[in-house]
Amino acid sequence: MRAWHSVRRGVAAAVIAAVGLVSTQAVAEDAFERMLSEKTLRIGWIMSPPGSQKDPITQELKGYYIDIISFVLKQVNVEPEFIETQWSTFVAGLQAKQFDIVAAGTFASIPRAASVAFTSPIFYLGYDATVRAGDDRFKSLDDIDQEGVTVAVVQGTGGHEFVKRTFSKANIVALSTNDLSSSLIAVQSGRADVAVEDAWATRRYIQTHPELVSLFSNTPYNLQPIAWATRYEDRDLREFLNTALEWMRINGKIEEFVKQYPASGRYVLSPTYHAVE
């Protein structure tokens, strides 16, 4: 009986401690305030060359997303702290406050926007579909969406949302991995008939694998904005990033960084400026 009482006391103490910790968490300060006071910002990054990549040998982090965010933070004397994350878990990482922003090639899609808040678009990117060379069954998206056709896609990517929304008859295989070439491997090994991935990743892979061909290489479909993800409550941080990105866009700084890397198949909105008398 005494043992049972001690277990109950232990459980009660643990519950009280947990509630205390949760309420402490609730009054945590805004990421922007923390950035300014601690002079550091925790940035989630996802391996996806050429936007963000780690050199396999030297471990040096590079890519135009890395350059852009580093440039922004340098203007306010803040040090970036880069934390690697994945396509399928970056939303959870943001919500768990493992980092304060995800500076990656994340498609700002409507379902994602229900969970995380995006900055203004940095540029736009479309999707491509890949099949085995010689497989001439597919000419359009309608040809793909047929019974008996297996479509491979990486789970959690914008492509995954797109196929779920677009294909109702095809069998969709969502691969839980961070490797954007996984869907193409599935086609290569005969596990799937079609791979759906962003146009740039597809182009890069096909260059080294002639046994695969792209269906829409010159006309990527479903163009979507690429933007960085933040938590909804971090409005000040997002405001700061939007101002910085707009400044860099107008001054050609974003293009300057992007052009240091191989062509990425991006699309940009080019506003026309008129002098006002």
Partner: protein, 220 residues
């Protein structure tokens, strides 16, 4: 016809070695946590005091009944939201795999101790030993021999489970390989090399365990 290019993983062998070092580090770290906590939890489960045996049973069954990958993701993403305790991805993996190993080690300890005839403990107590002395001098030396083969099997499983750390972007072999694929676009060759790396690490352990088992069987 697919053309294999094993020159790519060979050119990047330093990456695999670095990944293997992290895999070894995580395996040894989780094993130390698992052995230490597993012994304590295993003995607690054997205790007649419910205040000890119930929490120990709860710990073991929680870890045994949930997938390891879910445990890792939960510790890394859900624990900070619930408690405010923020662990790095590496520490979350150590804690998750350490806890997982502790649960299984505890069961191995318990089974090992239970496999020794009850009369031996009674005899040790009858000649004036304390329960602690009886456990240390009589029961454990015999039980440990019986525990070694399952220990080694558990360690081999642990080494393979470290590949789950790639989900949290911890740079063990599989994660390094995934990143390498993103740069080189040679997945078939790189995944084949990852499989070979794991086989090279795990096979000697399993082989050593089988030799040890045969030697002890001869001694009996």
């Amino acid at each position: 016809m697919y053309t294999w290019h094993f020159d790519v993983p060979w050119d990047y062998r330093a990456v695999f070695l670095r990944g293997a070092a992290v895999t070894a580090e995580i395996s040894v770290g989780a094993l130390i946590i698992g052995l230490t906590c597993g012994l304590v939890i295993g003995l607690a489960r054997l205790s007649k005091r419910r205040a000890l045996s119930w929490p120990a049973a709860f710990f073991v069954e929680t870890f045994r009944s949930t997938p390891t990958i879910v445990q890792l993701v939960w510790i890394y993403y859900a624990l900070p939201i619930l408690t405010g305790i923020q662990l790095s991805a590496y520490n979350a993996v150590l804690l998750g795999l350490g806890g997982h190993t502790a649960a299984y080690m505890a069961e191995i300890f318990r089974a090992g101790v239970n496999s020794i005839e009850k009369g031996q403990m009674r005899a040790a107590l009858a000649i004036g030993m304390t329960p602690y002395q009886a456990m240390r001098r009589i029961i454990l030396p015999q039980a440990v021999r019986r525990m070694v083969p399952p220990f080694v099997n558990e360690f081999a499983t642990l080494v393979k489970l470290t590949s789950l750390a790639s989900v949290l972007a911890v740079p063990e072999i599989l994660h390094e390989a995934n990143n390498l694929i993103a740069s080189t676009y040679r997945p078939m060759e790189i995944y084949s090399t990852v499989a070979l790396c794991f086989a090279l690490i795990v096979f000697p352990m399993i082989y050593a365990a089988s030799i040890l088992e045969k030697l002890w069987r001869k001694d009996r």
